[in-house]
């Protein structure tokens, strides 16, 4: 019990004094996970759109596979990406193993399914009638897709934020691809694992608090966004009208 209390006190001191190591690890974590989220979103949203709007054989099967991959263990993605970018792998020549670049690739692969899947769900939530309306108003296929994505923006943003949440909180890829090299690839989660092993509970707890604080910010942003949507539905349900 004493250990925990003293750990919290130490953590408080580290955070308040803006401990350089703590800041460095936090900054790298944010950089890697935000990059992975941005890249994954750029690929996943259009891809989700294409899967939703096009009719093709095996569409149902593909969506089921994507949904299954929501819960793929991070270590499996770690293993897969490791095999591809390690020296002897097909992309070994790029020298990405044990670099932040490699970690970004790993996290991008990890969160892609959840973003594609939730984008498809978000688009399915838009009434079929809206698409017909846009086409009948003379929209080209691209114009109508762009407009429908915009219509589903809140739900799609939710998908992106969820992807970020998964990226920043995972250990498997960061550990296997990054290697937890101090000052280079050490991030919040791998740091917590290491410091706990070494008995530095104060630093571990401090890192944990920072991680939770980031999660809190994510939740707050999400609530802010959905409250915008909720305000709309209030009006639909007969709330105050301007």
């Amino acid at each position: 019990m004493e250990e925990i209390i003293s750990g919290f006190i130490q953590a408080f001191q580290l955070i308040v004094s803006l401990n350089p190591e703590l800041l460095e690890v936090t900054a790298l974590s944010l950089f890697i996970s935000l990059s992975a989220t941005a890249i994954a979103a750029l690929i996943a949203i259009p891809l989700g759109g294409v899967i939703h709007f096009r009719e093709f054989a095996g569409k149902r099967v593909l969506i089921t596979i994507i949904q299954t991959l929501y819960s793929v263990p991070t270590v499996i993605i770690g293993l897969l990406v490791f095999l591809i970018i390690s020296r002897s792998g097909p992309f070994g020549f790029l020298g990405l193993l044990f670099t932040p670049g490699g970690m970004i690739i790993g996290q991008t692969v990890l969160i892609m399914p959840i973003m594609i899947g939730l984008t498809i769900t978000a688009l399915s939530g838009i009434d079929r009638n809206i698409r017909d309306t846009l086409i009948s108003l003379g929209a080209t296929e691209l114009q109508s897709i762009a407009r429908i994505v915009q219509e589903a923006q809140f739900a799609i943003l939710g998908a992106v934020i969820l992807g970020f949440g998964r990226a920043i909180s995972e250990v498997g890829v960061a550990m296997m691809i990054g290697g937890n090299i101090r000052g280079e690839t050490r991030v919040l989660t791998t740091s917590i694992a290491l410091e706990t092993g070494m008995g530095n509970f104060g630093l571990s707890i401090a890192l944990g608090i920072v991680l939770l604080a980031i999660a809190l910010v994510v939740v707050l942003i999400m609530n802010l966004i959905t409250s915008g949507a909720l305000a709309d539905s209030d009006k639909i349900l007969g709330g105050p009208r301007a």
Binding site: D127, N129, D132, S136, L137, G138, T140, R147, D232, K235
Partner: protein, 360 residues
Amino acid sequence: MIRISGLCKKFGDCEVVSGIELEIRRGEIFSLIGPSGSGKTTLLRLIDLLDRPTNGSITFDGMRTDGPEHERRTVRRRMAMVFQKPGVLNTTVEQNIAFGPEFRGVLQETIRTRVSAALEMVGLSEFSKRRAITLSGGEMQRVAIARALVTMPEVLLLDEPTANLDPLSTEIIENLIVSINREKKTTVVIATHDMAQGQRLTHRMGVMMNGQLVQSGYLYEIFYHPLNRAIATFVGINPIRGGVVESNENNLATIVFNGIRIQALTAFHEGVRVAVCIRPEEVILALPNVCAPASSARNCLTGTIQHLLPFGPFTHVHIDCGIPLTALLTRRSCEELGLAKEKQVTATIKATAVHVIPDT
């Protein structure tokens, strides 16, 4: 304007519309009328080139429409469709209305002018900055109409535009449709299951049943000369079945129903089994022993009132004269005549008001 021939649409094995032959004329209001599920929406979607027909063709202003998508879009951009559900997007009223011209790459300045003109026309100018999804059902449907109008369509397609709306909103939208047709000379095709609406708005009408266009023509033809029993029932007549043509001289026929004789104008020959359609408003009621008011009337039947059924400001009087007859009277005349159940009355019908159809 639009010529449809041999049009057929299947979804899987299910033939939703088949064998449609129809011409929509420039500048008219044409209504497609029929019960729910009769294929009206499918036909409108085919006309708007949203779906491709399984068979048959549609020409728009002399142009074929079976080309690739970009050609069909060029034609589609000369039309606009308003769906049963208004389908407004989650943005301002103004932006909702601007979609059509934006998709066509019209200059922003021109769009602004056109949008405010359209808002003016549908009477929603003060709502331009409001979020469209916060409007009432009737207002949203007006947004949908304004959104169609800004594209300056040559043909406006409306699919049940007033279903689910209150009478006041319905009236606003009906007036709007008529004024669009008059002022902008826009050809209008409206699908509705509301007979009275079809009657109020349109010049010509097509009746759809089970995916087929069973009759089309001017209102008078549809309402007074339905081609068969199903159409007659739909336009508000209960055909009286089981008649046989007893004699026919120069198209003035006598038809016998269980000993009751009715005279009608028809070309059916002696011995043919027929049903007759008599519109309730063509039946004139009087108390018995009172001389029939219309001396030219050929048919005079006496019967007992079965029941009286209120119908808005009117009353439907169901009479048994050996054959079932229905008369439509104002409430006031019912009271003045002192009509009540079991009372005896005389019904008078002109031979010209009796429409004869085959009894099949």
